[in-house]
């Protein structure tokens, strides 16, 4: 004890001195949260947006364009998934089911109340959001793969319910929908126009996810992902926030379901089973749930790769399984995250060679 006393008397310490100074210093400007987009990031984003919207003018052909529609519809769901999975770190395998709630809500409202795609959209979003909250409830008690399995089961239960729903859900045959008709002066019966509509929604969802990830809400979700117990201790209502994140992602899935129902004009339970949910999970992990372009990239690869490589659909499942394991082991964070790291490394190496000093490179991650 004597030693402690001596040291205390002799040493007017640095920390205490700093502490007292801190009180008198003028406040530093409040640090804005989130990532400040670099120039490279803005350029890449502009290129992606232009490429997505310019596709119909590149004479893509009917088959490619219809794949592109599917890719965009899928990407909308994946951008929703990126909120609870990428930010809060909770993996759910129920998203095909949530998309199904959106699609069936649209089809039933069209059949029984004569609503069109636009009128049904808020209802689809609402129903999917409510069920997303319901699907998310088990996450308050269980986590990790246990939770993933529970949500997968819920998704399968939905499929079974739809198959046995009789006339109300159209049973195994499913339901038909009328065409979209005209929107923004464009005839949506033309595939190129329908693609533009879906692509525009996809880009909006991309923007929404970016804004969420860089908001206070996104930051709070990350605190849950990083350390739930600590988050609670500093006053974060983790239960409420998890459910909010799920419901937000449900809105994306519901909108995607509504758009899908009207683009395909026929929906059936097979589109919304557990297997489809697994594909969604694969895509989002492959691309990277925490990056802005990850979900889109994942959707692109999984939709187009079997087509490009001409793999049999059954064989492709084996390929996906192998791909998923490879991504988890070799590319943690997904393809886009690894590409980014590579780019940053390269940019720094080039700059270092030029100036002899290194400086930080591009940063396009949303978290």
């Amino acid at each position: 004890m004597a030693q402690w006393g001596r040291r205390l008397n002799k040493n007017p310490t640095s920390v205490a001195a700093v502490a007292l100074q801190a009180k008198t210093r003028p406040p530093v400007g409040h640090a804005k949260g989130g990532v400040h987009p670099s120039r490279t990031f803005i350029i890449v984003t502009a290129v992606v947006v232009v490429a997505v919207l310019a596709l119909p003018w590149m004479h893509p052909g009917y088959r490619l364009l219809s794949f592109a529609v599917t890719t965009c519809l899928t990407a909308i769901v994946l951008y929703g998934m990126a909120v609870p999975f990428g930010q809060a770190g909770i993996m759910s395998l129920g998203y095909a089911g949530l998309m199904g709630f959106g699609a069936y809500t649209a089809a039933i409202l069209s059949r029984d109340l004569g609503m069109n795609m636009w009128q049904a959209m808020p209802f689809s979003a609402l129903v999917a959001a409510l069920f997303a909250g319901l699907f998310g409830l088990p996450s308050l008690r269980i986590s990790g793969h246990h939770f993933a399995i529970v949500t997968w089961v819920m998704c399968e239960l939905l499929r079974i319910t739809l198959v046995n729903g009789g006339k109300f859900t159209g049973a195994a045959t499913g339901l038909d929908l009328p065409p979209i008709g005209k929107a923004f002066g464009l005839d949506m019966d033309k595939l190129a126009n329908a693609y533009l509509l879906v692509a525009a929604f996809m880009l909006l969802c991309m923007l929404a996810t970016y804004l969420i990830a860089n908001s206070r809400f996104g930051r709070t979700l990350r605190s849950i992902r990083e350390n739930e117990q600590l988050a609670r201790a500093i006053g974060v209502n983790t239960d409420l926030l998890k459910l909010t994140a799920f419901m937000a992602s449900g809105v994306f899935a519901g909108i995607a379901g509504d758009l899908q129902a009207y683009n395909f004009r026929h929906i059936s339970p097979d589109l919304y089973g557990g297997a489809v949910s697994m594909y969604f999970a694969l895509m989002v992990m492959l691309g990277g749930p925490r990056t802005l372009f990850g979900p889109l990239t994942g959707a692109l690869i999984v939709t187009f790769l079997p087509e490009v490589m001409r793999i049999d659909p059954i064989d492709s499942r084996i390929a996906y399984g192998v791909a998923l394991i490879a991504v988890i082991m070799l590319l943690p964070g997904g393809i886009i995250a690894v590409t980014e790291r590579g780019y940053r490394w390269l940019a720094e190496a080039v700059r270092g060679a030029r100036k002899g000093v290194s400086s930080p490179g591009a940063d396009s991650s949303t978290a």
Binding site: S14, A19, V28, R216, R219, R232, I234, V236
Partner: protein, 242 residues
């Protein structure tokens, strides 16, 4: 504003193990209070029962006269009771700045923390001496700094009372010494400081008031000078033969 945390008759058992056997104590923010006791004496269980991690089996917790027993952890955090954890917790893959920012965006919701002393994350990081690490990710920092970050995160929520669970565990003599200075500085700002630690010398040096727990019972409670001379305490710490 002085605050009082009153704990009365706190009981908690895990299966056949009695972790707390009816502990009464009062934590006033005017004093720096230390809770000491051998391993398994119920110190951490006491904090966890106060902070809503565990639901106590019996007893009451009152915060400035309001009963808060068994409320969920996040509500306790919002009332101005902040705590740190034995394992030096942080949000590991986020930057040090973001760690503190998250805490500052949550925490105590009452407006009576008259001076919001730190208007930015940088300022708070300067206070705890971590400003140069602001852009590093938390898990890249050495252990001693991680302990400081845990304290900064707790402070970020503008608490009126800090409960620190073994803040100096795993630190060397000079690091613990620097922490003692930090706790004094925090206390000077009017934040109540109550800490658990094994380091009896450090505790005797820092604390105005010591509480000693032994097998879930309080065996001493009083001014530091009196407690360190207490025969019962010496027996528990040094063994009966001394």
């Amino acid at each position: 504003m002085a605050t009082v945390l009153e704990i009365s008759g706190m009981r908690k058992r895990f299966g056949g193990v009695v972790a707390l056997a009816g502990v009464d104590l009062t934590i006033k923010s005017e004093e720096i209070i230390g809770i000491i006791g051998p391993n398994g004496s119920g110190k951490t269980t006491l904090f966890n029962s106060v902070c809503g991690v565990y639901t106590p089996d019996g007893g009451q917790v009152r915060w400035n006269g309001v009963e808060i027993t068994g409320r969920p952890a996040h509500e306790i955090g919002r009332m101005g009771i902040a705590r740190t954890f034995q394992q030096a917790m942080s949000f590991p893959s986020l930057s040090v700045r973001e760690n503190v920012q998250i805490a500052m965006e949550h925490g105590c919701r009452r407006g009576d923390w008259e001076a919001r002393r730190w208007s930015s994350a940088e300022e708070l990081l300067r206070f705890v001496g971590l400003e140069e690490f602001a852009d590093e990710s938390a898990n890249a920092m050495p252990f001693g700094n991680l302990r400081r970050l845990g304290i900064a995160v707790a402070l970020g929520g503008r608490p009126s009372q800090l409960l620190l669970d073994e803040p100096a565990a795993g630190l060397n003599e000079s690091e613990s010494f620097a922490l003692v200075q930090l706790f004094r500085a925090i206390h000077q700002l009017g934040v109540g400081v109550c800490l658990i630690d094994h380091h009896v010398q450090m505790m005797a040096e820092l604390c105005d008031h010591l509480i000693v727990l032994h097998f879930g019972n309080k065996i001493a409670d009083g001014p530091t000078e009196a407690v360190v001379r207490d025969e019962k305490v010496i027996e528990v710490y040094l063994g009966a033969e001394s």
